[in-house]
């Protein structure tokens, strides 16, 4: 089960999830571009890796493509170790915004590994924007609902 926590005191999003895999496998799924492109998703998008240098001090850029629409993301692999990845992450459509992400692979010693992702943003507004982003559908649903209510005279 995936848990998501938005810290009330600092603009951080934390995600935790257990996997039936070793830390080494999880690390590989995050650093091998062919593997990464297969799961980063979402399903409606195809991922094209533009540049990938998964070493401490390296960087990456990939593009998500959907029916002619392209969304590019890039960042730096600040630190890659067997039990963690520290990286920056930017959506090029909003180049001033940068996430500092720490991914930890905790061996649960029962064949499973806990992935803990912490994403730090520079403001609460930016954090909330990240929470909303990729949730375009959700927001559209919300606004569509609001629009219907306005039309129906419910508001």
């Amino acid at each position: 089960m995936t848990t998501v926590e938005a810290d009330p005191a600092v603009p951080i999003i934390r995600i935790t999830r257990d996997f039936r895999a070793t830390p080494a496998q999880l690390l590989r799924a995050h650093t091998d571009p062919r593997l990464f492109a297969r799961w980063v998703g979402p399903d409606s998008l195809r991922t094209r890796i533009d540049h990938w240098d998964a070493r401490t001090g390296g960087s990456f850029r990939y593009v998500s493509v959907r029916e002619g629409e392209e969304f590019a993301f890039r960042g730096c692999f600040h630190e890659i170790r067997p039990d963690r990845i520290v990286q920056t992450f930017t959506f090029e459509g909003s180049p001033d915004g940068v996430l500092l992400e720490t991914l930890r692979f905790d061996d649960l010693l029962d064949g499973r590994t806990r992935l803990r992702t912490q994403s730090l943003v520079d403001s609460f507004e930016a954090r909330d924007a990240w929470l909303r982003s990729g949730m375009d559908t959700g927001l559209e649903e919300g606004y569509a609902k609001l629009e219907r209510m306005l039309t129906d005279g419910a508001v």
């Binding site: 039936r20 895999a21 593997l35 799961w39 909330d128 929470l131 949730m135 606004y143 609001l146 306005l150």
Partner: protein, 123 residues
């Protein structure tokens, strides 16, 4: 959440100044003067924004003598909770794809090893 409350929360949070005020209040209560500080706005304008937030139930002010601090109503985070729920579903979708990739990795490694062995044999 009743329909009119939802639409009020949506409308209240649609404005960047009010979002900023809410972000500030989410860490601690503040007086109207403190809320006005970072904005180049008249107190009157700030009060107007406050009224919108108050009517949406996003913030409240205690009755009593001034200064009455503005309090953020965590319950109004139902909208925020909805964002988080969607974000969680999205992360879960992604991680289910990762589950599949991880499951396939072992098989693929075996296949690759076999292929390498075959290559060696041919060489």
């Amino acid at each position: 959440m009743p329909v009119d409350t939802l639409s009020r929360v949506f409308a209240a949070l649609a404005d960047p100044t009010r979002r900023d005020m809410v972000a500030r209040l989410s860490t601690a209560d503040a007086t109207v003067n403190q809320l006005a500080e970072p904005h180049q706005m008249t107190l009157q304008a700030i009060y107007k924004h406050l009224r919108v937030l108050e009517e949406a139930g996003v913030v409240s002010r205690a009755t009593g003598p001034q200064p009455r601090p503005v309090h953020f109503e965590a319950g109004s985070l139902d909208v925020m909770d909805e964002w988080i729920a969607r974000y969680r579903r999205q992360a879960e979708d992604r991680y289910q794809r990762l589950d599949r990739v991880l499951a396939e990795m072992e098989t693929e490694m075996e296949t690759e090893l076999d292929a390498e062995t075959d290559g060696d044999e041919r060489a």
